[in-house]
Symmetry: C2
Subunit: 174 residues, 2 copies
């Protein structure tokens, strides 16, 4: 991966976190990284390719983070709730997969497919960590919804209220 490709992905990720697929333009990305918009197309032929790659990278990083933390703490729900808490309190406040997942109906095919893969990865990993399928579905919905509601209320503390149950410090059942 060239430095320029990485810089473009970083800029696109930041803007997708704020405004989703319709919330960024090649001309803005181009200014962010210091080239012309037509040059962005050299690295990523279409907006679809760029957004799909942003989602893929985010999914890979999330998967790695969760695996690392789960090795240190056997309480899966606490691990997930803490990981997404990092996103809720970050400068961007949102997970790109969540904002894109909410508008999945209107997304180019490759982007919608990568977003779907992200949420499937979350559920599969939760089940592998010991949750039942139904429990994983409900829990994933809670932490994703907490991100959305906290963002809408413009109050990161709302994420903590919604997920307090799962971030308790006694190391008990997952």
């Amino acid at each position: 991966m060239s430095d320029m490709k990485t810089a473009i992905l970083d800029a696109a990720e930041k803007r997708i976190q704020a405004g989703g697929f319709g919330g960024f333009s090649f001309r803005e990305i181009a200014e962010d990284v210091g080239i012309k918009s037509s040059s962005v197309h050299y690295h990523f032929p279409t907006k679809e390719d760029l957004a799909a790659e942003v989602v893929r990278r985010w999914a890979d990083r999330t998967s790695g983070n969760i695996d690392r933390e789960f090795a240190k703490d056997p309480n899966a729900k606490r691990v997930w709730a803490k990981a997404l808490r990092g996103t809720a309190f970050s400068k961007a406040h949102m997970c790109p997969c969540t904002i894109l997942g909410a508008s999945s109906q209107d997304l180019p095919k490759a982007v919608a497919a990568e977003v779907k893969r992200f949420f499937k990865m979350c559920q599969d990993k939760m089940v592998a960590q010991g949750m039942s399928a139904d429990d994983a579905s409900e829990f994933l919905s809670t932490i994703i919804g907490a991100l959305v509601v906290a963002n809408a209320l413009r109050d990161s503390a709302e994420y903590d209220r919604a997920t307090a149950t799962f971030r308790v410090e006694e190391k008990t059942a997952a």
Copy 2:
């Protein structure tokens, strides 16, 4: 409210449910209702005005629906979970406030403010119905997240898996 105003709101609502704020254009709305895009501006001066009004109308309808159902069933969580289930299984699949709330960072002020009002209304009503503030936060996150995840996975049944706990048929505690 003129018929044309209502027709424009209906068309905008449908398109916002699919693609959020960036996912609809005045030219598309104009075609939907059979006038020119410059005429849409006569009814709603800006995209901001139009989207804010869509959110306000959705919030009012939701509030009314919940009140009506809660009068018939004292189990507040079941009432809410069933109401949003209607959205998950509708043709549009999504709640406009949820898709806009996810991209709140990038929204015009009036739209962001209306979206915030919607989520505050949900929490306040839940507390008035007997939930604790923390319980309302967690529960609201779960049903909103279930909408997002089901949409991303393109599988409405996912909403049922995530909310099964709350839609049980014995009329017990709220």
